[in-house]
């Protein structure tokens, strides 16, 4: 990932900043410019919203065949999490054995190293999930 792109996304990656649609109250992460429900009515009415960082596992998998940048992490667990704000996110689940993962499991966001673009490239960080303590 190049530097401008990293900066563009950094607040979302580190702080979980999404938006809340004023007309319908739905929360979106990552932020959207238009609410798919309210459409025109939402334009200009989406306000910054900081997620609480807690949610529950909807579904999960353990990856054995990675893309290049994730080779060192294999096998690793991926989850789709439904956050308390009723918005879903995809991320890795860490600090737990695969056998112990199940849908409904309570998890929270933690900031970890995600990878590096190339051997000489920058290391970038972002959110992963871990079981709620």
């Amino acid at each position: 990932m190049n530097i401008p792109r990293l900066w563009r996304e950094i607040r979302q990656r580190y702080q979980g900043i999404g938006v809340e649609c004023e007309p319908c109250g739905r929360v979106y992460f990552p932020p959207r410019e238009v609410c798919p429900h309210c459409r025109r009515g939402s334009i200009g009415n989406l306000n910054e919203y900081e997620l609480g960082g807690k949610g529950k596992v909807v579904t999960y998998t353990q990856v054995h065949e990675p893309m290049e940048d994730y080779k060192m992490m294999v096998p690793y667990i991926m989850v789709i999490v439904e956050m308390d704000e009723d918005v879903r996110m995809t991320g890795q689940l860490v600090d737990v054995e695969y056998e112990d993962v199940e849908p409904g499991m309570e998890v929270e966001v933690t900031i970890r190293r995600l990878g590096e673009e190339s051997p000489s490239g920058i290391i970038y960080y972002g959110y992963k999930f871990r079981p709620t303590r």
Binding site: M67, G91, L114, G126
Partner: protein
């Protein structure tokens, strides 16, 4: 709007074709279709070529004019169509609309992909970019893993079993064994399928279609002139497209694909048919779970019955409905941007009753179903025997 016929088909063998370039693959498929149809180069007014990612796979963009040029058709306006894995089906749809609208009388549609010039992990990365790169893949979600999470959800909600997933693979390999253009022409027992190494659990190696090289093409003409050429025509009776959120996590019911459901409803409405009228279907089985969801979302079986239906043998050749007689993406292979055209080629072969050992008995209607990404785009065509 007027009716449209496919009057010529061509395709390359699918596989790891290290000695053939994308250019050559495209030309072979295109010339095959033109020869089969019996049209001349001068008659061709437009070309649409489905392709996912030539820019990253072979460092060549703008491939449509390149293929047209080397096929000796440098005068023909040629356009590349990209919709991830649905690029081929979307190219067919563009060709259909161009002829149905009356703008063109003779159009060539094709699809071509060269997946194996880059390494496996790079190819996986490029395919994963048809999901949401910024908000799925960047966090480690491979394309496989997103389908794996859909599989897990479907299994938990409906009781679909790993064995039923495996049976999709067994069936498609047994069909592929009867297709001379298939990448894998060999049947495998369930025990071997279930014993394969895991890719993204619960999906193993035999749950995932290969990443392949290949190309396919069809010649489309308006119905009124369809009989004036050599190739036996097949009618395109229905077309539907659908869309959905780009990322799996932005969808609610991930045991179904909304894009497929919308595309199917539109295609059935246009054709004036119902799912029970369809004799055979080529569905987008990039993963075994994809076929199970597809046969439900296309209305052949109720939601949750896709696994049991497969286990009952209802989707085997010449059973209730023959699914993926070609071997599907799993066994015929997955040249990503060509898949939708490969499916149309199989449908034409079946409706012409040229399928040999894998022939569906007396077919009248065939359906093709092509998905982009993890389901953010889908396209369905319904084809009818000419007479």
């Amino acid at each position: 709007m007027r009716d449209v016929a496919i009057i010529g088909i061509g395709e390359t063998k699918i596989g790891e074709l290290w000695n053939q370039s994308l250019r050559e693959l495209g030309i072979h498929a295109g010339l095959g279709a033109i020869r089969d149809a019996g049209v001349t180069g001068e008659e061709i007014e437009k070309m649409y070529i489905g392709n996912m990612s030539a820019g990253r796979l072979i460092n060549q963009e703008h491939i449509a004019p390149m293929i047209a040029d080397y096929a000796g058709l440098d005068d023909v306006p040629a356009v590349r169509i990209e919709s991830g894995g649905a690029s081929g089906g979307m190219a067919l749809a563009q060709g259909y609309m161009a002829v149905a609208s009356g703008i063109h009388d003779v159009v060539v549609v094709g699809g071509a992909e060269k997946m194996t010039d880059v390494g496996d992990e790079e190819a996986k990365k490029i395919l994963s970019s048809t999901a949401d790169w910024e908000w799925e893949s960047t966090f480690g979600a491979t394309f496989d893993s997103l389908y794996a999470m859909m599989a897990r959800y479907h299994m938990r909600k409906h009781g679909t079993t790993k064995e039923q997933l495996g049976m999709v693979s067994v069936k498609n390999h047994s069909n592929g064994a009867l297709n001379p253009n298939a990448q894998f022409q060999r049947a495998f027992p369930l025990k071997v399928v279930l014993g394969a190494p895991p890719v993204a659990e619960p999906l193993g190696m035999f749950d995932c279609a290969p990443l392949s090289d290949g190309a396919a093409a069809c010649v489309l003409v308006s119905e009124d002139i369809a009989e004036s050429y050599n190739g036996e025509p097949v009618r395109i009776l229905g077309l539907g497209m659908g869309g959905d959120h780009m990322a799996v996590h932005d969808r609610r019911d991930i045991d179904a694909m909304k894009a497929t459901r919308h595309a199917a409803r539109n295609a059935y409405d246009m054709a004036g048919l119902e799912p029970k009228d369809i004799d055979f279907a080529e569905v987008h089985d990039n993963y075994t779970i994809s076929e199970i969801m597809a046969i439900e979302d296309l209305g052949f079986f109720s939601k949750g019955d896709g696994g049991p239906a497969t286990e009952r043998g209802d989707t085997s050749l010449n059973s209730k409905i023959s699914i993926n007689t070609s071997g599907g993406l799993k066994a015929k292979g997955q040249p990503v941007g060509a898949v939708g055209i490969n499916q149309a080629v199989e449908a034409v072969i079946q409706l012409r009753e040229d399928a040999g050992d894998r022939q569906v008995e007396d077919p009248l209607y065939g359906l093709t179903h092509n998905v982009g990404g993890t389901g953010a785009s889908a396209v369905v065509h319904i084809l009818e025997r000419w007479s």
